[in-house]
Symmetry: C2
Subunit: 130 residues, 2 copies
């Protein structure tokens, strides 16, 4: 993407977006922060079962760089950092709702007793709009 050909620089609208949404955890993190409005690092760790601290930190940093997530550190002991979505991040979150709905309709009905909290998030997302 964003390659140059015929001497013209490509500003393809998908450029960059792929870089964001193609990261395995990025959408999940954005969704998660959006669900909580305001959430701390370790709380994210708990919700996003299976993610490693490194990966979470890496992607958070990237999302902040992209202007999708806002990082608010507090000078407290113990240290505390809050993460929230920027307006842009919130808009992206809403933009992925149709994909969530598509995924759910495709999978059939969501089972009740699933330990995976992502299901609840999916529902939460969909509920936003319906």
């Amino acid at each position: 993407m964003a390659k140059e050909s015929n001497g013209v620089i490509c500003l393809c609208p998908l450029d960059g977006v792929i870089d964001i949404i193609s990261k395995k955890w990025a959408l999940l993190i954005i969704n998660e922060i959006g669900n909580h409005k305001r959430i701390r690092y370790n709380n994210l760790m708990k919700e996003l079962q299976g993610i490693t601290p490194k990966t979470l930190a890496d992607i958070l940093k990237e999302l902040v760089k992209y202007g999708l997530v806002k990082r608010e550190p507090f000078n407290e002991i113990p240290p505390r950092v809050d993460y929230t979505l920027t307006d842009d991040g919130e808009q992206l979150r809403e933009a992925i709702i149709p994909i969530l709905q598509w995924a759910i309709s495709r999978k059939g009905t969501v089972v009740a007793h699933c330990s995976c909290s992502l299901i609840e998030k999916g529902k939460a997302l969909v509920r936003l709009r319906s």
Copy 2:
């Protein structure tokens, strides 16, 4: 994803979806096929500038497996294969439109003389709905 924890299998609605949309070219290919309704392999190669035959073949195979794309081979000389979207694939394509729109609004106005045909595709997608 689709991991087992507490003895319960997770049927997270995002499971599998990430595997699809996280592939760099998958959405582009789905979009491209959708734009053309029916398109042949080499035509896809031309439209998706920069993709290698291996990558295109790999992802097409996967999309077929996922039931998003339909492959129609003809017994002709020279050989001919048409690709079309399944209903499911078409629905996914529509589900990503909001993300496209978000991307475009974020990037600002699309420039006119861009050699990258992806822009046209983005426009085409958006035009579908507006």
